[in-house]
Subunit: 111 residues, 2 copies
DNA sequence: ATTATTTATCGTATATTTGCGATAAACAAT
DNA sequence: ATTGTTTATCGCAAATATACGATAAATAAT
């Protein structure tokens, strides 16, 4: 499923898409790398992570498709970095999500 | 993969597990329901969501396994609610994650 | 004991994800 | 033109996820 049906709200589907992008430890690690190094090349990620180049490339593709990162060509390399606009969108989607539910929590008993 | 290898940090794997729990719109919708209704029964969710009872039950099982919700038996029903401790853990994991990366963003150029 | 209600589980089909070797594509340097 | 460097894509196998009908399990009500 590509989360494009009419059965759920667009916001729910968008959040599910972002969550899916974050749902693998390699992709979390890649995003942390990009955050800490500001930008970096695919090869640097391959050197650090314990997975093959083809696999890294595939994860990068998924992250790109989610919108959370972007790549710019600097032949023969590709420089990756976080996509600020979508990053903030995701950040606020998640923030609202946890918050909305947190309200109920703080109203209720704590144990 | 069950995200239990030694190849990634435990924190990254835990975050990936939570993200995976959020990676389907039906599960997002269920969590929103639980948040807004404080607690509710499986049947209420089945009535609201556009998916079969067996499917709802499966999603609830995954959410339970992620630790984000819990169920208590009130025969013949089961009352579901958010699990506050893990909810807050997840909330702060994600918050730190977005924040850590946000720092780099705010240091960098905005376009 | 039978029936009704509610939820979990089983079985199964289909789709998606993950991982990787092999190879292609894009380009720089020679 | 050939070679080297870097990254994407292809093809495949294995594992997971998704969805649902059928059925079981648990229990209340009769």
């Amino acid at each position: 499923m590509a989360y494009t049906s009419t059965d759920y709200e667009e916001e729910e589907m968008q959040m599910a898409r972002y969550a899916k992008a974050l749902s693998h430890p390699a992709r979390i690690a890649i995003l942390k790398l990009l955050a800490s190094m500001d930008t970096c090349f695919c090869g640097e990620i391959v050197d650090i992570l314990p997975i093959a180049q083809a696999t890294v490339s595939q994860h990068l593709k998924e992250l790109k498709e989610s919108g959370l990162i972007q790549g710019s060509i600097e032949p023969p390399k590709i420089r990756y970095c976080i996509e600020p606009e979508n990053w903030e969108k995701a950040q606020s989607l998640f923030s609202d999500f946890w918050q909305q539910t947190f309200i109920s929590q703080s109203n209720g008993r704590k144990a």
